[in-house]
Symmetry: C2
Subunit: 394 residues, 2 copies
Amino acid sequence: MKSSLDSLPDALRGLIGQGVEAIDTPALVVDLDVTMRNMQRMAEFAAKHRVRLRPHAKMHKSAAFAKLQLQAGATGLCTQTVAEAEALVAAGVNDVFISNEVLSVPKLRRVAALAHQLKQRGGQLAIAVDSELGLDRLAQAMQLTRASIDVFVEVDIGQGRCGVAPGEPAVALVRQLTQRSSSLRYAGLHAYHGGAQHLRTPQARRRTIVQAAALLDDTRRQLAAADLAPPLITGAGTGTFAIEAASGLWGELQPGSYLFMDADYLANERDTAQPQFEPALFVKSQIVSVGADRAVCDAGHKSHAIDSGLPQVLPLPGQPRLAFANGGDEHGILRPLDTDDGVLSALPALGETVWLIPGHCDPTVNLHDHLIVVRGGLIGGQVETVVPVARGTW
Amino acid sequence: MKSSLDSLPDALRGLIGQGVEAIDTPALVVDLDVTMRNMQRMAEFAAKHRVRLRPHAKMHKSAAFAKLQLQAGATGLCTQTVAEAEALVAAGVNDVFISNEVLSVPKLRRVAALAHQLKQRGGQLAIAVDSELGLDRLAQAMQLTRASIDVFVEVDIGQGRCGVAPGEPAVALVRQLTQRSSSLRYAGLHAYHGGAQHLRTPQARRRTIVQAAALLDDTRRQLAAADLAPPLITGAGTGTFAIEAASGLWGELQPGSYLFMDADYLANERDTAQPQFEPALFVKSQIVSVGADRAVCDAGHKSHAIDSGLPQVLPLPGQPRLAFANGGDEHGILRPLDTDDGVLSALPALGETVWLIPGHCDPTVNLHDHLIVVRGGLIGGQVETVVPVARGTW
């Protein structure tokens, strides 16, 4: 795995080749062996089901991991922000879809510049739009270049966030798109149901996506009847992609979290139509205080995102299982999970390492400037490389 | 307000002197006029009550704001991480207390180097310790320098996180400290009750701090009886500092959030013994999608922390009040708060600016690389400067 080490702080560059025990805490650590297995399983699924795979880089925000995914057969990458797209393009990724609405005029100028840059080297930029004003502003920004941009009209298939309503409103917006500027190319529909991804049972996820697919199929038929059949429908996430793949509607899948996984996805009851993914992303933490009934580690809300729940403590062989309780921004409070154990004997000692599986991988990665990538396991392994994160929201 | 602009990205440097409307979204914006009022009110309170004020820099993670606080009379700054302390010292702050336990040997080497650096220029570093192992490792690291470090023994006065138990265990640890290396100077006790800060009524906060003070006073008496009277007791936060100040026990206050405030602190019923603080920290966001019953803005979990609740939408004169609902990592979903209004007419339009008051200031600041500091108000004001955030947890 390649990544430029030029901009790394000395302390991080010095870690490369050292044992995992040399990583100071709190730090975000990626198990590359597990990551490669997850990547391979997803790539095999897409190949077997003859759908394109466009993994979502909003999760890892990392050109180094994007390139691994391309090597494993991905068509291109999705991003959610312009800054993520810029980071990927700067590192040589040639096919990027910004799967989000951009209304900011300064950002749309950056989008146009990026489209121009990609065009010059034979690549292609795409973006999602769900409004006429979005089309207007994008077309205006594209006038500054001689490049074109692929536009996917986002359709709201039940999530209730972005996206034009399915059916007639979607047809009307696609018609607007095709009649607008020649620099905007109608590439198809973007249809993602985020709310379905973490429904706990495969049955509930299937029910939701089947409903979403019915709305989408109706829209597709109306578009076809208007001679506006979508060239491609893109969407799906780590929780549901097997259902979208089987529907015959989606031609491209956008899962992101499968690569690293997190406690929230691991809490889903698995759909056996999907491959099994394993946790590859960990916060390395250590015990900084021990009280009568608790041990306190040095990882809190500033080390891991808690929007999808608190982290889980990775059970290590021969050690008692621990529950993580909220200790604020810089601390986590650990207590034995199995209360029939003697409390004191079950607590980890001062200075001891604990490994946390974050509740939600995407915003956890966004909290860190670097991912420390290890091979050979969390115990006994060594640091393979350190890669920067294209943090932030600009 | 001074801050080095050398390391700023061009897009941010170019903002300085421009109107607030030129700030792209999502961005974290500080209203400097409000900040200065908050700062002045806190400084006046400390002066009037003859307690030292050592504001907590874990909130703003910014040398520029630390220096303003020092100019307004603060004794020094608290930090929660070694990296925050390094950022302040590098910018010229001479009196820093790391109010947290550090067990990591590499970090303790950095602590020792920082103590040495400060000593050479007549400053002083302090740190909290709550264990014998903490004392051992700190003393060992300090052997590398000829400097000394002030040590505050942290006492758990009811929060149940870090801190040695009050009474005899605290006395034993202080005794250990005074008999250890001559490089560790017994500076007093660190006693902070984080859990009391957001109890909603002044009565509940007062009850909790009065109980905490009783434990602390008992410990102080036992220490005095052992000829180990604490030179100083430091602690308190934005929710309770008037109670600690009135107790006669605490000689130094550590509030942080008062400077910027947040929705969680604003939800506290005010203790009239405290000055009134106003919100000074905002996420500037804009509407990127509008549906039949909602408008969607471009600020989600990656723009603001939600550990203390979702942000509030700043009500603007003549506009309908909006409720913020979770839209995931990059989006917020806005709906009218007053449902007797017609829904459609009350929604903001595509591209319109909305200002959010984050739920919790500290981890929200930590999500951003820069604070954009404005004067003259959010509407009609201009960008005064842009300051870097010493992000992260190392």
